[in-house]
């Protein structure tokens, strides 16, 4: 689809020309690496805390061939995706209700605003009691964390829908379900996608954080394990892996959602 009103995102996605911005980004990475190496060699900080780059690269190599990484990566991904599904669906639903009804919005939204920025990890003990020490409590943590940004951004997006479009739907006697499917959701695509993207990051944070606190599997657990063994190169290698993972996931979500938008509302 070459000439649509929503072409900008797909155009951006397909254009792979080298971009000056790309060079700046690369330069930043190189700069950080050089700085790191300089600090490591200077001996200003403990060798063990700031290991030299070759040590980290070697650890990264070992990590990437270690089946343990993939087993734990899979666990974390699985927990995060389930957390996003539960928290995201709940957030979408609550956001639509709060955004669609002035009464419910005024009654409940203050709670969302107060609870939203609260560090959810303080609820982790409760989650353990409710969902056990296994994956359940991690999923619950992630779901609980990502519920808030999704609900709030959907509620705000819902309010930004031009009222005239809703009146058109009503005048054609659309059912509440059709209103949601055919008017609210397509009209709010942007805030919903942003909410889900934000929600994914926050679900991942919630899951990783929970894994570092109490668990025997997952990437968060691996990080803490390496920390406790004081294997700093391995820990940094792991952090890099997690960083790349979240970047990749973010890009995947963007791709996925812009694809579904391009295929249009049937």
């Amino acid at each position: 689809m070459a000439s649509t009103g929503v072409l900008t995102s797909s155009e951006r996605a397909s254009g792979w020309r080298p971009d000056p911005v790309l060079w700046v980004r690369l330069a930043i990475i190189v700069g950080v690496l050089v700085l790191w190496q300089v600090v490591a060699m200077s001996g200003l900080l403990y060798q063990d805390v700031v290991p030299q780059l070759p040590a980290i690269v070697a650890a990264l190599g070992r990590l990437l061939v270690n089946p343990e990484l993939y087993r734990n990566l899979w666990v974390t991904l699985y927990e995060t995706v389930l957390a996003l599904v539960f928290g995201g669906v709940a957030g979408l639903f609550v956001g639509i209700v709060l955004g669609g009804s002035r009464f419910f919005g005024r009654a409940f939204e203050p709670y969302l605003y107060y609870l939203g920025p609260t560090p959810k990890i303080i609820f982790f003990p409760v989650m353990i009691m409710w969902f056990g020490t296994g994956g359940g409590s991690k999923i619950a943590m992630g779901a609980f964390s990502c519920f808030f940004p999704v609900a709030l951004s959907v509620a705000v997006g819902m309010r930004a829908i031009p009222p005239i479009l809703m009146r058109v739907g009503q005048s054609f006697r659309a059912s509440p379900r059709q209103m949601v499917q055919k008017i609210y959701l397509p009209a709010m695509r942007e805030p919903v996608v942003n909410g889900l993207r934000l929600g994914f990051g926050i679900a991942l944070i919630g899951v990783l954080l929970a894994e570092t606190k109490l668990s025997n599997q997952g990437l968060g657990f691996l990080v803490i394990q390496n920390y406790q063994r004081f294997d700093m190169p391995a820990m940094y290698a792991l952090l890099i892996a997690i960083f790349v993972l979240s970047m990749g996931a973010n890009a995947a979500i963007t791709r996925l959602t812009s694809r579904s938008a391009a295929s249009g509302a049937r």
Binding site: L165, V168, S171, F172, G264, A265, R266
Partner: protein
């Protein structure tokens, strides 16, 4: 019979052009008042109107006289304080399947193509994809937008978008087409030409139309009857039969008879409009004072 005496005829019954029989729309002593922080505001006061099958009736009045309020009550989007509105013999409470509305504001769905927009009411009714696109095609042709099926509203001009909105409402196949200043945002030339289009469609489908407008030329060009509203509270000032020959085109705008109708209506409207302007100036004065 477009004589001067006829111009002064005040009629509450159907126009000569109407086919008679049961009215499709009955507005019966309808009142609408709003509770505001400043007290009760009566927007529409004791209005009555019958519209028969195939008739084209315009409602004209100065800005703020309650036209959109009446429009929304007939369309079932706004509750009625007193009185009753019936469509095809059924009392209106909520959007009625026999009424199709075209709104004053820009109302096409920006994420849908022209054909998807026009097929929307059919989609709501559960018509299958192939059939609804085929039926939409008919109405796209009717408003002269063939070739633009796959375009998005953002790629069209304002006049074309308004035609999409009209086609979409026609695809709903309403017994009564209800339009609220559908051409208000358009320039005069486009407005006249779209008026021709609407006349042609109305003749082709024998469509009953109620058009809300504040444009006298448009009202005279299109209507069998014109209801003139008073300014605040909105009441029926009078109803005029427009006895111009059909089929009409926008060329009729230049004729003497047309000019007489326009002058006639303007005479009535001027009092109301200036009343409205005085009110607004007084209000502005009040606001300026602390």
């Amino acid at each position: 019979m477009s004589t001067a005496t006829n111009l002064h005829q005040v009629s509450r019954k159907g126009a000569a052009a109407a086919t008679g029989g049961q009215p499709i729309l009955t507005v019966d002593h309808v009142v609408k008042s709003f509770e505001t922080p400043q007290g009760k505001v009566t927007a529409v006061d004791d209005m009555s109107l019958d519209v028969r099958q195939g008739e084209f009736v315009s409602v004209i009045g100065p800005s703020g006289c309650g036209k959109s309020t009446l429009f929304n009550m007939i369309g079932g989007l706004l509750s009625i304080t007193e009185g009753e509105i019936a469509v095809a013999g059924e009392r209106v409470n909520g959007p009625h399947p026999s009424i199709g509305m075209v709104f004053q504001e820009e109302s096409t769905f920006p994420w849908r193509t022209v054909e998807e927009n026009v097929a929307f009411p059919l989609e709501i009714q559960g018509v299958g994809k192939a059939e609804r696109l085929e039926r939409a095609q008919h109405f796209i042709k009717l408003v002269g937008l063939q070739g633009f099926e796959k375009r998005f509203p953002a790629e069209l001009s304002g006049g074309m978008r308004q035609r999409v909105a009209i086609a979409r409402t026609l695809a709903f196949q309403p017994k009564l087409l209800l339009m609220d200043e559908p051409f208000a945002a358009l320039d005069e030339q486009t407005r006249l030409l779209l008026g021709d289009k609407v006349t042609q469609i109305q003749q082709e489908l024998n469509q009953t139309v109620v058009l809300i407008t504040h444009n006298i030329t448009e009202a005279v060009q299109l209507s069998d009857r014109i209801l003139i509203m008073t300014y605040r509270p909105g009441r029926t000032k009078r109803i005029i039969d427009i006895d111009l020959p059909r089929p009409r085109t926008s060329e009729i705008v230049g004729s003497d008879a047309f000019g007489r109708y326009v002058a006639e209506i303007w005479n009535d409207l001027r009092e109301e409009a200036s009343q409205g302007m005085q009110d607004e100036e007084a209000l502005a004065q009040q606001r300026k004072r602390p």
